[in-house]
């Protein structure tokens, strides 16, 4: 059992290494892609900051606080784009009929699907996320924010968890491809839409949306809740602040649901072949 997990992990590493080596064949392209993506995402961040030129706060949130939230979302989403590229690309795999090959090998199909692409250019967004985080700290310099090991832990757990939830959304979207390859927009609403919305404090949205991002697509657990914990802000619905440490559990639960749905999709593929 453990041996299999280790073998799968090392195989994952090798498959990703293959993708990286393939992309290194086009170094200049890659460099330009990373830089372009950095600039595009930095522009998004700049737009967000511009909002605070006429308005000093957003429902009591200072520009630096929103910047931190946005930076955390950006890093988490960037990681998801990096590691979930193959899953995001699944509609192409299905359309070209390449999924058959994954079923012809003795290792898990998802392992092969998730490594059929590794979008190194997405490093642009992750870099931007870290820059934005630095900018946020600079904007918050007057706040005397006290960093404790627990706060750093909550933030790191949150980022990894939000990445896992984003990847799980991509996986759910990929699963839809077993039925139709026309509805990929549905996932984009959740990924890009979720990223965009969660870059702002959750409380500016109506209660239905707040509950959705907390209890249905629990992205807020990886972003909003840990950031509130770091900033010492109260959570909506009177939720306790130690929830910030529960984010990995919530993310794993969501991933598990996505995985079950995926397996169901694979079985459907095996009975329809399309």
């Amino acid at each position: 059992m453990i041996q299999n997990v280790l073998a799968d992990l090392s195989l994952y590493g090798r498959l990703v290494a293959m993708q990286l080596r393939a992309q290194m064949q086009y170094k200049m392209d890659l460099l330009i892609d990373v830089m372009t993506y950095f600039l595009v995402t930095a522009l998004e961040f700049a737009t967000l900051l511009l909002y605070f030129v006429p308005f000093p706060t957003l429902l009591g949130w200072h520009v630096g606080e929103v910047a931190m939230l946005s930076a955390v979302v950006s890093i988490g989403f960037g990681l998801a784009e990096l590691f979930g590229g193959g899953i995001d690309n699944f509609s192409v795999v299905i359309r070209q009929g390449d999924f058959d090959r994954a079923l012809l090998r003795p290792v898990a199909a998802l392992l092969q699907v998730s490594t059929n692409e590794f979008r190194l250019r997405r490093l642009g967004r992750i870099t931007q996320g870290f820059c934005a985080f630095a900018r946020a700290l600079f904007l918050l310099r007057g706040f005397h924010l006290i960093w404790t090991p627990l706060k750093i832990l909550a933030l790191c757990l949150g980022i990894v968890s939000s990445a896992l939830i984003f990847v799980s959304i991509l996986l759910l979207g990929a699963t839809i491809c077993f039925w139709t390859i026309e509805t990929t927009e549905l996932t984009n609403i959740l990924t890009y839409g979720g990223r965009e919305m969660l870059s702002y404090p959750l409380t500016i949205y109506n209660q239905v949306l707040q509950r959705t991002f907390l209890f249905i697509v629990p992205l807020a657990f990886g972003t909003y809740i840990p950031v509130c914990y770091v900033l010492g802000r109260a959570l909506p619905f009177g939720l306790p602040d130690w929830l910030a440490f529960l984010s990995p559990l919530i993310a794993l639960l969501f991933a598990l649901v996505a995985l079950v749905v995926w397996q169901f999709g694979v079985r459907r593929y095996q009975s329809t072949g399309s």
């Binding site: 073998a7 195989l11 080596r21 393939a22 064949q25 390449d98 026309e182 095996q270 329809t272 072949g273």
Partner: protein, 347 residues
């Protein structure tokens, strides 16, 4: 124990028609328009270890569906399958370590990387012990002459080289059974011959069982001891190659271009088509589309050059070409024969 044993294999697809419009995609999920298509119907087949069996049939005959069911990609609607002792349905991953699959039109190699990288990685994808992998890789390099292009990125390989790479990739984990789907499609004559020679060799030396689908009758003649013809998802023929050639495949077609001036002078048949008169025995005119005439003749009835000489002596020939029998022709002839039998039955 048979390598492949399938009884009553059937596959019915529910084909949903896509709806158009903005929410068409969504509506297709919720409320699909369904039509049933029987891709494979009650197909039974048995392949013994060491056999090379050709699976032939026209496009859409159900070849791919059959292969997909035998490899565990598709779950049959009905029927029993065992491949190399495994049930592809419940033991797909265990079984996949014992079979090799090559799709002629799709590669399993990593496009942007040198061939050797893919071949090395496959060891981990199939969990092959290092020693065995090293030995197999060395043997494949020698047998398929991979060394001249093993460090070239796959995208730069010629189709023939890529196919050799794909064959190696499919065999590195020591499969007992090799599925080949159109392995020679698009290859030139030399490359085709090379692939065939290699397949015969691994069959003879290792006793590799091979199931091959192809459109190329030359592939079948060179490789297969047994032939399975399917059409419309049903088995039309299962038996030796020589029998089918004797019965259906021996006919070739000659297409002659005549001098237009001469055509007007030719006698006409009942349908008003010009006719060549007093054709040698075993030769029949099957079509006339001025200035071309199609003649069908048996290989044994008359050597091709004699027919050309016969025609040249009596008519002013502008050009002559030959058509080898295609698998479609063979199948058409089987149908004709069937019809013939039915007609006899009625009388």
């Amino acid at each position: 124990m048979a390598m492949i044993e399938a009884t009553g294999l059937s596959k019915t697809f529910r084909v949903t028609k896509r709806r158009s419009g903005v929410f068409g995609g969504l509506r297709s999920i919720v409320d699909p328009e369904v039509r049933l298509v029987e891709a494979v119907q009650a197909l039974s087949l048995q392949v013994e270890p060491g056999e090379i069996v050709g699976l032939v049939g026209p496009n859409g005959a159900g070849k791919s569906t059959t292969i997909k069911m035998l490899t565990g990609i598709l779950v049959p609607s009905a029927g029993e399958v065992r491949v190399a002792g495994f049930n592809p349905l419940h033991q797909r991953r265990a079984m996949s370590a014992h079979i090799g699959v090559v799709f002629g039109q799709r590669t399993q190699l990593w496009w942007d990387l040198p061939l050797i990288d893919s071949l090395r990685l496959l060891r981990y994808l199939y969990r092959v012990p290092e020693e065995r992998h090293t030995a197999n890789l060395a043997r494949m390099r020698a047998l398929l002459d991979l060394d001249e292009f093993i460090d070239t990125p796959v995208r730069q390989l010629s189709l023939g080289q890529r196919m050799r790479g794909d064959l190696a990739a499919a065999l590195l984990h020591d499969p007992q059974l090799l599925y080949l789907d159109e392995p020679t499609i698009g290859l030139d004559v030399v490359a085709k011959a090379r692939i065939r020679e290699f397949l015969l060799r691994i069959n003879a030396e290792q006793g590799m069982t091979i199931l091959i689908t192809t459109h190329d009758m030359d592939d079948v003649e060179a490789l297969c001891s047994r032939l399975l013809i399917i059409d419309h998802g049903r088995k039309l023929y299962d038996g030796g190659l020589s029998e089918i050639r004797d019965r259906f495949g021996g006919e070739r077609t000659l297409i002659a271009i005549l001098d237009p001036a001469e055509i007007n002078a030719l006698p006409r048949n009942a349908t008003g088509e010009p006719c060549l008169m007093n054709l040698p025995e075993g030769v029949r005119q099957i079509r006339f589309d001025s200035p071309r005439v199609w003649l069908s003749f048996g290989k044994e009835a008359l050597p091709a050059h004699e027919l050309v000489a016969w025609l040249g002596a009596r008519h002013r020939l502008k050009d002559v070409t030959f058509q080898e029998p295609e698998i479609e022709d063979v199948i058409r002839r089987i149908y004709e024969e069937d019809l013939l039998l039915q007609e006899v039955g009625v009388v």
